[in-house]
Subunit: 299 residues, 2 copies
């Protein structure tokens, strides 16, 4: 059997009881180690917690070496551990499909992921639109396909969850060219970088999907003991020191409710000022964008 087990967000004890019982009985345990990290645990603490060796699975092993992971899994139990939920921000459907092709039964043990735990900032999950990802810009590579998605979400008043880039086990271009297996230190995008990149793209596109006064929520170390939320405008948060990783950003949509706002006030420096920015932003895409097509107006 192949078990895909979600680990939750922070502590080794964020695994579910059923997940832990499962991992303990598996003969091989892989940890997906390239799209996220467990904030308050590492390979060693997990190994001692599970009483099992933990094999770090990098992108290459998961994407091209899945038959190694699945080896003999029809006869023995293999666990594939994923920070958050196995079907969260990064889904592992390809591994499941490959297992099914090999007639290996699969069981999923779910857990919290940033995709649902972000509700802890007080914004209602059902008011979120599509999720976007922001990668580290380089001098020559500043992809902005996320911009249209934010525009689409905000036109209909929805909040946008913005996942921030993580670079683990990356090679420099020089080392890659020379075939040297030397890896750069891991990098985790912080809130200030994310907001600056967003502002840079708005400056280039000038379509006002958002402005420097658009209200956002900085979500830092979600689910960990040092979890912190900070609400402010994009400009304010572009100068915010968000501390240790991981971080996530939420951009508000016009449909924000009073109850959501009431909750956010806990995380602002100046309530009246933040409220003013929210009210201003609510006018940005108002009146509501959806108008029924003319041919239906006669009904």
């Amino acid at each position: 059997m192949l078990y895909l087990v979600g680990l939750g967000l922070s502590h080794e004890s964020d695994i579910t009881v059923r997940g832990l019982e499962t991992v303990k009985k598996c003969s091989r345990v892989y940890l997906e180690a390239y799209t996220s990290i467990l904030m308050a645990a590492n390979k060693e603490t997990l190994e001692s917690y599970y009483g099992r060796e933990v094999i770090l699975a990098d992108r290459e092993l998961v994407e091209t070496g899945s038959d190694e992971i699945l080896h003999n899994a029809a006869d023995e139990d293999v666990a594939f551990l994923v920070v958050g939920d196995p079907f969260g921000a990064t889904t592992h459907t390809d591994l499941v499909l490959r297992a099914r092709e090999l007639n290996i039964p699969v069981e999923i043990i779910h857990n919290a992921s940033v995709m649902n735990a972000v509700g802890a900032c007080g914004l209602q999950l059902y008011q979120f639109g599509q999720t976007i990802s922001l990668v580290f810009f380089t001098d020559s590579w500043k992809p902005d396909s996320f911009y249209n998605k934010i525009m689409e979400n905000r036109k209909i008043g929805l909040h946008t969850l913005i996942l921030l880039d993580i670079k683990v086990k990356e090679q420099s271009i020089e080392n890659m060219a020379r075939g040297r297996l030397i890896y750069e230190p891991p990098r985790y995008m912080d809130i200030a970088t994310a907001c600056s990149q967003l502002l840079e793209i708005e400056e280039r596109r000038q379509e006002q999907a958002y402005t420097e006064n658009t209200p956002c929520v900085a979500v830092s170390r979600l689910g960990s003991p040092s979890q912190k939320f900070k609400a402010g405008t994009l400009r304010e948060l572009s100068e915010y020191d968000s501390g240790e990783p991981l971080h996530t950003l939420v951009m508000l949509g016009r449909q924000v409710h009073d109850l959501e706002l009431e909750y956010l006030y806990q995380f602002v420096d100046d309530k009246e000022k933040f409220k003013k920015f929210v009210e201003e932003d609510q006018k940005h895409f108002a009146p509501p964008v959806y108008v029924p097509p003319e041919e239906n107006l006669s009904d």
Copy 2:
């Protein structure tokens, strides 16, 4: 301290290890018992699992009796258990705000909820738009405010998660009028009812937010041992026997990827036929709806 603890979706052992350790040390343990149920556990199994009495908290207690829940919580540990995640489909921000007013520290222990575990159907979470809820229609009450939201999601190509009504501890109008505290048996909306109601509203509105051929995924008993997915058109699923509760429905958006489709094929009766309906539906809102406003075209 007030702990809000997510229980996950199905088994008593779907609680996290940290959640279980927390519940075991609390002097009072409440279970929010009106917006969802744990599919493979009840009050008694939870009580024996935790070694603690579990107090069922109905809507009235949570919404108007929160000070009873919070009584003395500055000095002792109180757990408030929520099926899924405390900030999932139903958020408990009001309880948290009330606790903060009373200077009671609050800690959240997250877990999987339908809002992220639905990714197990193979559709990518980041492609979902706003979530809608569908209530049981009566002869005289058929609210259709969800319809515009589906329209908005589908115009920009996004999937829609449709949460289905649950009625627990409801009184009949007669019993309510006579002040008799007699409650109706619990009702959980099934897939066929949900699809029929959706079709009924489309027939009334005739704006083609969706059609009877729009592809959907029926999600039954998510996260439980008898979990089942079924993909088909709205019309097909309006005659589908989805079995025991709980159920959730997903309506596909035009942006569906090949990898998502590949996964869904596991759940269809006839792959070619389903593929044809998907391709037909992809044309429904094409070309992409978003066009930059004219004043910006000159950039």
